[in-house]
């Protein structure tokens, strides 16, 4: 059953090219990400669906091992990518080591520097940061009409989104300090009447580079014109209250919420058939909570997707879900 319909959202706002599905674990974020990617690809848009979850399940849903393989073509116009954080961290460490060796013409990394490089990589935040950075890469590089983020479960997703603003202010502060240092250099040079131009500050340049990238990605995440964020929920008490809480938190980070999608709706027609008491109770309970959801979210509900008769894996099932979400296309 399609209500205001997702299709209108996509038709009305063609600039919203960064699509995100959020919600608790196991409610169907990956399924909806894949189905939306499928729908858009069928409309002739070039789509990349990628996972920011270290335990990604895009490989499972597309029945194809894509982990750490970069953007992989699933069907015409549809690309999927699972980021291998570990691999990226290792490559990054190596890049830093090489840079030090090249800059100072060293044979070997000094011990205390090497142990710092290793300790930094063991930081718990390192994996997320690496994924974050790769997503920045993906977004900055461009080349697709749509980017679909297969997000991690709620709390984590919030952490991920807040990372952008934390980095933002961190980088602003140290860039400011660095620029101030630069001014002192210039003052000293003027007083001493140095003839030579000051050398470029390599650190400042590096900071400005990082700043540019982080700002760009956090701008995208919080820009209503470019981003559509959908919440996935089911007709159950706890899920509804968690979703309400999460929606309030997300609003704090200026994540532009486009609407809600209800998943796993048991077909109401079942009730008229000869079904066991157990199922009847489930359906009655569901009717109640669907009503609660309607009262709470009203027009923001964009689709109700029925519980499927089997697991959603493989393109056939993905197409079926896409048709439930977007109507026949």
């Amino acid at each position: 059953m399609v209500i205001i319909s997702l299709t209108t959202i996509f038709d009305q706002y063609p600039d919203r090219r960064y699509i995100m599905f959020g919600g608790k674990g196991g409610l169907g974020k990956t399924t909806f990400s894949a189905a939306t990617a499928y729908y858009l690809a069928k409309q002739g848009k070039k789509v990349l669906v990628f996972s920011v979850d270290p335990q990604a399940s895009l490989s499972d849903i597309f029945k194809q091992d894509i982990f750490g393989k970069g953007p992989t073509e699933i069907m015409p116009n549809l690309y999927a990518q699972e980021i291998d954080a570990d691999k990226r961290v290792k490559a990054y460490q190596q890049e830093i080591r090489q840079k030090i060796l090249d800059m100072y013409k060293m044979e070997k990394i000094p011990e205390e520097i090497e142990s710092y490089i290793q300790a930094a990589a063991a930081e718990p935040a390192m994996e997320e940061s690496a994924i974050f950075d790769e997503v920045v890469d993906i977004v900055v590089k461009g080349g697709y009409d749509y980017y679909i983020y297969d997000l991690v479960p709620l709390g984590h997703a919030l952490y991920y989104l807040s990372m952008a603003s934390v980095y933002d202010s961190w980088i602003d502060k140290i860039t400011g300090l660095r620029q101030q240092m630069r001014e002192y250099d210039q003052v000293a040079a003027v007083i001493r009447r140095d003839k030579e131009e000051l050398d470029e500050d390599a650190i400042l340049n590096e900071l400005l580079y990082i700043k540019e990238r982080i700002n760009k990605s956090s701008r995208i995440l919080t820009d209503k014109k470019m981003t559509a964020f959908f919440f996935v929920l089911t007709a159950e008490e706890m899920i509804i209250s968690d979703t309400l809480k999460a929606a309030a938190l997300f609003a704090k980070f200026d994540v532009p919420l486009s609407g809600y999608i209800i998943n796993r709706v048991l077909p109401a027609e079942l009730k008229d058939q000869n079904i066991p008491e157990y199922l009847k109770n489930r359906i009655t309970m569901q009717e109640h909570y669907l009503q609660v959801i309607d009262n709470r979210f009203g027009k923001q509900i964009l689709a109700r997707v029925p519980e499927m008769e089997r697991d959603v894996t493989g393109l056939d099932m993905i197409e079926k879900v896409a048709k439930e979400m977007f109507g026949n296309f």
Binding site: E112, A120, Y184, R193
Partner: protein, 88 residues
Amino acid sequence: MSKQKKGGLFQAIKEFVYGVAAHDSARFAMKSRASMEHLFILITMGDMLGVPILPPYYSLRLLPYVVPQISTWKRRMLREKDLTDALA
């Protein structure tokens, strides 16, 4: 020749004036600059001294540029000595 002499004299006066008036300011600016340098490394590389700093991923990017300063910086920050130094 006399021109050069004049230039030399001028140069000497210039340096004298600089020494009297500006040398201290220049030194002060450079000293402030050096303290800021240490502060900057502390903010970005504080992890090395056990000061947790956010976020390590981007700190690493800056590491190559501060490699030569690391040991003087550590010395300055850890000037106070105690027994645990023997373990390091």
